[in-house]
């Protein structure tokens, strides 16, 4: 299917508006990484995933499965899920409020369609994705498992346990993506805990490594298409996705300051003015 780049860009703009309005409304949440990963999630959910938003099943048999490991970018995921049809767009207004299904970090606990695992405590999603991929192999299910991770998250040891396992067991029906924005709460990843040469690290662990610009629709699509051609070849695949934390809002870019800080009223107004309302804001 030929991608409709114009529509995908419209979606991204709308999802970014959703993210900003959600975190602003409750004055909490993580806009920086959410804005940075928006284009990836839009491309994944609206172009690549084989899924059934209206008929969500936990098993996900004969569907592609997405596992969000860096659960703090939940606003971006919730917006993309709602706009894919997993639940009503209006439910986005309940984000982080008491009795909501849209918890601060994603959970299966409240049976929100589209969520298959809780995440938030970092480093666990790659293992979960590998498990889901193994189950697909056992079920003779040819669909794919996608996972997304923060780059700071790679400081967790479990990621490397999982990386070793996936290569050893030839988990070749999974595409992991790293949000490589080089920023985390306390500063740049270089300052906090240098990640070194990530490409060489993943290669040394036996993975096929690709790189892409996660804020360029065309590049996202061609790279993920290329990644798919590596599936079924006895090796797991990882994409180092270069993004800009806070992408789409000029004053949120180029800093780690907006990792976990919401905009105030004035900042929200300034930010929304930079993002066209393309598909209608949630009420």
């Amino acid at each position: 299917m030929k991608p409709d780049i114009t529509y995908l860009k419209q979606l991204s703009s709308q999802v970014r508006r959703d993210i900003l309005r959600m975190v602003h409304a409750v004055q909490s949440g993580h806009p920086g990484g959410s804005l940075g990963c928006t284009d990836y999630l839009v491309v994944l959910y609206f172009h690549f995933l084989k899924h059934q938003p209206k008929k969500f099943t936990m098993d996900g048999k004969n569907e592609d499965v997405f596992i969000l490991s860096n659960g703090h970018i939940s606003p971006a995921l919730y917006s993309v899920l709602a706009r894919s049809g997993y639940f009503e767009i209006s439910e986005l207004s309940t984000f982080r409020k008491i009795n909501t299904r849209l918890q601060g970090h994603p959970t299966t606990h409240d049976h929100l369609p589209g969520i298959r695992i809780a995440s938030g405590s970092l480093g666990q999603g790659l293992s979960v994705g590998i498990g889901a991929a193994l189950a697909k192999k056992l079920n003779n299910d040819k669909c794919i498992v996608y996972t997304l991770h923060g780059d700071g998250e790679l400081q967790e040891g479990q990621i490397w346990e999982a990386a070793m396992f996936a290569a050893h067991h030839k988990v070749d029906n999974l595409i992991a993506t790293i949000d490589y924005n080089k920023k985390q709460i306390d500063g740049s990843t270089d300052e906090v805990m240098s990640l070194g040469n990530l490409k060489e690290k993943w290669q040394a662990f036996g993975w096929e490594v690709l790189e892409m610009n996660g804020n360029d629709m065309e590049n996202l699509i061609t790279t993920i298409e290329k990644a798919q051609t590596y599936l079924g070849k006895q090796k797991p695949v990882v994409i180092l996705m270069h993004t800009e934390m806070g992408q789409g809002v000029d004053f949120m870019m180029g800093t780690h300051k907006w990792h976990g800080s919401p905009p105030n009223d004035e900042q929200l107004k300034t930010a929304l003015a930079q993002l066209e309302e393309t598909l209608g804001d949630y009420k």
């Binding site: 790659l126 293992s127 040891g157």
Partner: protein
């Protein structure tokens, strides 16, 4: 005192191994994972007979728990196997978030629990695992007492939809539960009816409780002995019914007093029917190297200690 015949001498972990192999034959969704302890966990037969459903994770327990959680997404029923210490404390957050909070159908199977691991010493002798696991909402916690009960429990938990912690041990111990005894999760097993004191025991301490019951009977004391194999959910009805009859209680377990079976029963009784209770458990200290017998003796987890505790509980009741 009801006679309990010794049917053999086997380790509970072998009961797990047999049960798992049996499950492999009857349930195609059962898969197993092990973190470099296949022989210790007795998972060899499952691995040999169902290689496509067995995953060696290497010494990476956190990853093993995460993969198990992921396998449930495809409808599998994963059984993870490693020592109790590495099955719980080492991977608590992985169990908490990816299994318990995510309500995943993972069976965490843990061998070498408690002091009876023996010579390896305190680094490996976890005595806090029941407490850690029972605190997690939705987690079922089971500590069977012999080979046959462990085998039956292993098979039974595959039928239960939800996370389970199954705890068993290393040494060979008497087999005294008949292989035809049905294992019902959360249903206590009455081993000897009595009227003077209730002894609630779990795991390796159940046989010690039976031995204590014989000694107590010779002293003219009628002990009701109940095997609480499921610590969570607790069989409150059976515990209250017995306690209302005897009016005093001894709890016995190979675990810390804090957070263990005795703790759960004390909580129940303090709310519903307060009576004197004596605890046979490890009291806020770590274990050490030694033979299982030496360790159980040194830390007071013996039939003699249970006899003494029963007499003390009865004395407190009558004072």
């Amino acid at each position: 005192m009801k006679k309990h015949e010794i049917l053999g001498n086997k380790d509970t972990r072998s009961g797990f191994g047999e049960g798992l192999n049996e499950l492999g034959k009857i349930n195609p969704n059962v898969v197993a994972l092990c973190a470099d302890l296949i022989g210790s966990l007795k998972m060899d037969d499952f691995k040999k007979n169902f290689p496509e459903r067995f995953f060696q994770t290497g010494i990476a327990e956190a990853n093993m728990i995460g993969i198990a959680a992921g396998l449930t997404i495809g409808g599998k029923i994963p059984f993870t196997g490693t020592f109790a210490n590495f099955s719980t404390g080492r991977v608590y957050d992985q169990i908490r978030q990816s299994v318990a909070y995510s309500e995943k159908n993972v069976k965490i199977c843990a061998s070498h629990a408690g002091l009876t691991l023996g010579e390896d010493g305190a680094t490996h002798q976890i005595l806090e695992d029941i407490g850690l696991m029972k605190m997690l909402p939705g987690m079922t916690v089971i500590n069977p007492c012999d080979f046959n009960q462990t085998k039956a429990a292993t098979i039974a938990i595959a039928q239960h939809n939800g996370p389970v912690y199954l705890r068993f041990g290393r040494p060979k111990v008497p087999v005294f539960i008949s292989e035809n005894t049905e294992f019902v999760i959360g249903k206590a097993l009455l081993l000897n009816p009595g009227t003077d004191v209730s002894i609630f025991a779990t795991g390796h301490l159940v046989w010690e409780a039976i031995k204590a019951g014989t000694v107590l009977a010779e002293k003219g004391i009628s002990a009701e002995i109940i095997n609480i194999h499921t610590i969570k959910p607790l069989d409150e009805e059976a515990i209250l019914m017995s306690t209302k009859k005897t009016n005093c209680v001894v709890t016995a377990e190979e675990h810390q007093k804090n957070g263990g079976l005795g703790d759960s029963i004390a909580q129940l009784l303090s709310e519903k029917f307060p009576v004197p209770q004596e605890f046979i458990a490890v009291n806020d200290c770590f274990g050490e190297s030694g033979t299982p017998e030496q360790l159980m003796q040194k830390y007071g987890l013996t039939s003699e200690a249970i006899v003494h505790a029963a007499e003390k509980a009865i004395k407190r009741k009558n004072s």
